[in-house]
Symmetry: C2
């Protein structure tokens, strides 16, 4: 296996930046493997990071643009914000069209206008147009570097043009050539391999695959994922409302945007309110954001456990219940999480769909009863062995477990389907919701049954 | 947005299969959008599914192979197992080389030998060779359909050969042409676009990019992911031990294998022991597999909650503790899960690494103390308002919460790093482990402090 050259340590990079040696800094950054760049830059303190980009903007703006594009949008925005408008513009000018708008969206209006004013007019115009699209739509995700020719052109003309501009096309989407009519409206797609294998006298019109799968600029990420899952293409043409070809949406861009959206979801669901958190942010801001979720949680949690408070006189008589409450709750939760895992896998394999709630629920109920009875027997045995003096306690715990574990596996099987129907990532929310519900159900079942029997 | 044609319902397909109309069945299956196929086939009962493939094997073995390739390996294996050896062989003959071995691996030795004997000798030989590679290695994941030419050939010769065999190459990896020496050892790679843009008189030797990133047949999936993350290529050449080019590993195959491995992990971690579970499997088998995890859990859970049992005399005196135990445990868990989410995102962005345990732990400890003090104050207030008769209870609950919530956020920040170092998916295991630990810690802290104070 061929290994890339070893990377400079953050300390070395810091030293180079402090000596303001632009050439050596650029060389050191170039030696960083792509996967190390965000890490090494995250380890620099903020001033050093900004100085580094100042040096790179002078020395090699293309490199600066490539490196900045590897950072998280929030971080890249902070760097651009701290640079002079002219240094920032030099870098943003060289960024890929889909990243420019994302990074500039991090700035406030005034700073953004300053950078745009310092950029090359054509690039700035391009960015202004893109910023009118919502970030998670085809317009916001597409790249505007693509190959399009009127279908009246011959294969020879097209190939000659490709040869002539080979260098300029280096970061173009080159899997396809798009055939347009004279007004720039998309007629069809020519896969590059088809072009390669065609005899040179033919015209694009003979090769073009008509009626291509395409999307419009305002299509949302959720819909785009569905389209890209259904077709094998590397990239889809993006049309504006008039049917004109305005960009190309790469499979990889959709995947990356989905991954970003999921990561942001992960933080929101885990209770980080008001945008994503990075550890490079100031501690007081991070504290406040986390508290915004935890403070209301105290009250909600308190409501859930007040089920137990309601039965306090009973616990006063049979203290052992305080031990078996969490036991029943944990085991029911575990049984339910097995069903969650099976449903999530079957959803991702396409074997079940949100509409199958009753079929899945039925199958899980059957399994839940079988497992519930076996486990309740064991559980009752454990209770009886440890608290033989109150045999009815074993009956109450075992009986409650049958009820809650059946509920848990049915809920566990069904919740991913319901969440997926609601457009929420089931892998994220199923377990927390399930656990909260099985907790309350277990408390109620154990204490209710015990108060009847004891 | 262009929509694919609407799909036949499972009932319609069932009717066609029962009437044994091979032509109409094949037409109906062809009309199924790729994403619907696994779902519709999962809804047929097993006998109908097998009959359907019998019909397809006669009518259109290429279609049968494509459809079978879309099913989960376990399902595809069940179908092949139930078909006659000759029908099975007709289908497997037409499958992509990376799927053949996966599907045949589901059969027992005897059945597999029967199918292999009925296959075309060259395909069977190919499968036998592939089955010697472990499934999650480059050899097991590569496709053997690729374009390779000795570098002494001219561009014209290569392009003429590509044109002549255009149809046969339809499911080849065509992003690159591989240049070899006369012994078939890899010399370098020619990107297809470079070939397209080259003047026809040149030889491959002039165009070839030497010293290409390549992998050997026995490289494991974990290492392959690292390589593919680091380089932008669509596919990597796979070499055997002698340096001979034996296959091509596509980025998409690595991604798919990783997703499969993660899905299998999800089930294992959720407690489905002994392989993956699909709801189409017999209920008694599913019951036994789930019990294999839940039965031992009873004992482990019992050990954890016996912390509470140890303090029973205390709970007997201050019953309200039974209410506040789960409250402290749940809130500490919630605080810790915020830290888990931030660490998982920073890991995936490459901003932190497993070695940063102390740096991350330190940052979280700072935040944990700030949050812990604020929340403990509120919590103590709630306790005091609801149980004013024992003011020291508020002190015990608040004090315990400060300790457990600091522990929880530090653990939550650090656990994903530790798990990732151990090669385990942190998104999967961090929360369950965290919750178990914070439960025990909360029980100990609340009860320990209460027994001192009350």
């Amino acid at each position: 296996m061929t290994e890339p050259p070893s990377a400079p340590a953050p300390e070395e990079l810091e030293r180079l930046v402090e000596s303001r040696d632009a050439k050596a800094t650029a060389a050191a950054v170039r030696a960083l493997p792509a996967e190390d760049t965000p890490y090494v830059l995250a380890r620099l303190d903020e001033d050093t990071r900004v100085s580094l980009f100042e040096l790179l903007a002078e020395e090699d703006a293309v490199l600066a643009a490539a490196v900045l594009g590897q950072l998280a949008d929030e971080q890249a925005g902070d760097v651009i914000d701290a640079l002079t408008a002219s240094a920032a513009a030099r870098i943003v000018d060289r960024m890929k069209s889909d990243v420019q708008a994302d990074v500039l969206a991090q700035l406030d209006d005034e700073d953004r206008d300053e950078v745009l004013a310092a950029m090359s007019p054509s690039e700035a115009q391009d960015v202004r147009e893109r910023m009118e699209y919502e970030p998670d739509t085809a317009g916001g995700l597409m790249i505007t570097e693509f190959l399009a020719y009127p279908i009246t052109r011959s294969v020879t003309e097209v190939i000659d043009d490709l040869r002539a501009h080979g260098d300029a096309f280096s970061h173009y989407e080159v899997g396809y050539v798009y055939g347009t009519d004279e007004e720039g409206r998309l007629v069809g797609v020519v896969p590059m391999r088809r072009l390669l294998m065609a005899s040179h006298g033919r015209r694009l019109a003979d090769l073009v695959v008509g009626n291509p799968v395409c999307v419009t600029v305002d299509e949302h990420l959720d819909a785009l994922e569905g389209v890209i899952d259904r077709v094998p293409y590397r990239a889809l043409p993006v049309l504006d409302k008039r049917g004109e070809l305005v960009g190309v949406l790469q499979r990889a861009s959709i995947r990356a945007a989905t991954a970003d959206a999921q990561a942001a979801n992960l933080q929101t669901f885990a209770g980080i309110i008001g945008g994503v958190e990075l550890r490079s942010m100031p501690t007081h801001l991070r504290t406040i954001r986390r508290l915004a979720f935890l403070l209301p949680s105290i009250l909600l949690s308190f409501l859930a456990v007040s089920v137990i408070g309601f039965y306090e006189p009973l616990i006063d008589r049979v203290t052992a219940l305080a031990v078996f409450l969490p036991l029943v709750a944990n085991l029911s939760g575990a049984a339910g999480n097995q069903a969650v895992a099976v449903s999530i896998r079957e959803l991702s394999l396409g074997l079940i769909r949100p509409a199958d709630v009753f079929r899945v629920g039925g199958k899980e109920a059957l399994l839940g009863v079988a497992n519930g009875v076996v486990l309740a027997g064991v559980l009752a045995g454990v209770v009886f062995l440890s608290r033989g003096e109150t045999p009815l306690l074993a009956v109450a715990v075992g009986g409650a477990f049958v009820a809650t574990s059946v509920l848990a596996v049915v809920l566990g099987g069904v919740l991913p389907l319901v969440l997926s129907r609601l457009g929420v990532d089931p892998a994220m929310l199923s377990s927390p919701i399930l656990t909260t519900l099985t907790d309350v159900a277990s408390f109620l079942a154990v204490l209710g049954l015990a108060s009847l029997l004891l």
